[in-house]
Symmetry: C2
Subunit: 339 residues, 2 copies
């Protein structure tokens, strides 16, 4: 039985082309059916041209508006009542699709998902989780990377539960090691938020391993790292900046001598592979956890491959027992006050 | 006139060898005199062996104790009253040296510097500043990266003043662009701390450019980025982790095919250069700003070259009018209440 995924066809920088081509790729390679949401008059001829007579389970769902990257999230969510995001997420709420993917405005996607889908029972705040590559090749999960600013200890505790469930059921990690992102491993290291959060984390029925540091995100010493959304977003964007710098530096170094020009030519394929493994569009986008449904947010620069991966992740998330698991643990925790 | 720099000879992982060799390199290449602080019975024969009969302006200052990386900072500072850090920093306070460098325990170095040197007039908290590489080759400065947790808006304002002065007078940046590290460029983006800090920053007599993001640290769009010590420390360690991952990944990619093995061989020099430019021990360590004197903290893994660079930075800092400039701006700001 194929999984039905709604895709915001107007999200990415190259919308709707990347979305249409990504949907075609996904329908060819995965057991999914795709609903592309956006203005029918634009999508229908573009889809027809891309399909070139093939028959694939792709349906167009009309939405007259869309939210751009430059739109202010809060305002756009309020004013654009027929946006592709809103229409798409309504399909999930109404049970007409199992999950939603957008490569559009992250702020608007989070706000719309929260509004349209609502929160999971007992969960106070959603968290955006991102997948990071590690030295072993297994990914790690960092959350929250920007769904909130100014979280409290109870929020972080719920993020830990959500991250645990996602890692276990979607990333297929057995007994995931969950850490609290801080500035040293000892319990005494951290700010007032992390110090207040630590004892609450220890009461959770998960494999909590205490404080972890930024470097542990990549060395596979923890599977899930929890932090407040401001810290996570700064860390993520800092790494993106560093990755870009590394690429530039490496290219300059490789060009700097005649010998290494030859070397660069020969190792071009290796370099392309290296760049690909840094490109976490390969991992298919960031799940928004805590909302009542499945919502995956991809990079604005997503190409058709990234869109396909986003659809794959949405389908995997939809098939796993994540959300009911989160509600169960939160409910169990709620019997003993956590703050 | 050579500048006198005190070096904690017992700080680094390979102490005292790295420190002794670094001091020798520094005295050969720079206009400095070095005072090596540590147990005389260890240092004297080791220095003699390394000098091989050369005459260089290196003096040994006896200290019977030293603080290790594993020591708890607060406890070690209290208990080890004759530590090489404390004895060394006293030389600075007494005017017997112009600056201090250690590659030892960062927490202990900061606490000892604060205690022995005291704070600059009007400055409430010290800040540890780190130099980051950028795409243009000019460095940028990030502070605070861990001298404090839980800073308030007034602390961040003072960090901005200190970063401005250091960039202008030591890094020689004309009219440095100072930004507030946040999660978006618009004023509305950020947490309660950054939103409360923004209007205060705008009143400063510096080139404040508003919010900046993590990626701006490396793309040369700002010269100084200010953040609270928890955020800065997490961001820094995350980048360190990512850099290590990139190296591992790149090596794996280069090894993955026969062609690229040849390529890797040929581009070995380029790769070595690339690694070197990522290695910010090249930049000589992190200045602790806000204390009454000059204190530079290097990586524990510092080799002799890194130690020499640390001594160079300490000398440059000592010769620049940084601390008096900080006091002047703080004093001027203090006439109008900033919080």
């Amino acid at each position: 039985m194929p999984t039905d995924i709604v895709v915001d066809a107007m999200g990415s920088e190259k919308a709707p082309e990347s979305e249409i081509r990504g949907a075609i790729l996904a329908c060819r390679q995965l057991d999914v059916r795709v609903q592309l949401v956006g203005p029918e008059e634009t999508l229908a001829p573009a889809l027809k041209a891309c399909l070139r007579g093939q028959t694939l389970p792709i349906e167009i769902v009309h939405a007259s508006e869309w939210i751009s990257m430059d739109d202010k999230a809060a305002q756009a969510v309020r004013n654009k009542r027929d946006s592709s995001m809103r229409v798409g997420l309504k399909r999930v709420r109404e049970g007409k699709a199992a999950g939603f993917f957008t490569a559009g405005n992250t702020g608007a996607a989070m706000a719309t998902a929260k509004m349209v889908l609502g929160m999971l029972s007992g969960v106070h705040r959603p968290a955006l989780a991102t997948i990071l590559p590690t030295v072993t090749g297994f990914p790690s999960l960092l959350l929250d990377v920007g769904a909130n600013v100014d979280s409290d200890p109870e929020n972080l505790v719920q993020f830990a539960i959500m991250g645990h469930m996602y890692a276990q059921n979607v990333l297929q990690v057995t007994n995931p090691r969950v850490g609290l992102l801080s500035i040293g491993e000892e319990d005494s290291k951290g700010n007032s938020l992390t110090r207040d959060t630590l004892p609450l984390m220890r009461q959770l029925p998960i494999n909590f391993i205490g404080n972890v540091e930024g470097r542990d995100l990549f060395n596979a010493d923890c599977d899930v790292a929890v932090c407040d959304g401001f810290v996570g977003n700064v860390a993520l964007k800092t790494v993106e900046g560093a990755a870009k710098l590394f690429s530039v530096m490496l290219r300059q170094s490789l060009k700097s001598t005649v010998t290494s020009q030859v070397g660069a030519l020969l190792s071009r394929r290796a370099f392309a592979e290296f760049k690909k493994s840094l490109d976490y569009s390969e991992y298919g986008g960031a799940p928004l956890l805590g909302v009542q449904g499945v919502c995956i947010v991809g990079h604005g620069s997503s190409n058709e491959r990234a869109i396909m991966n986003g659809i794959r992740v949405a389908a995997e998330f939809a098939q796993a027992e994540v959300n009911s698991g989160i509600e169960a643990v939160v409910r169990a925790g709620a019997t003993t006050p956590v703050s």
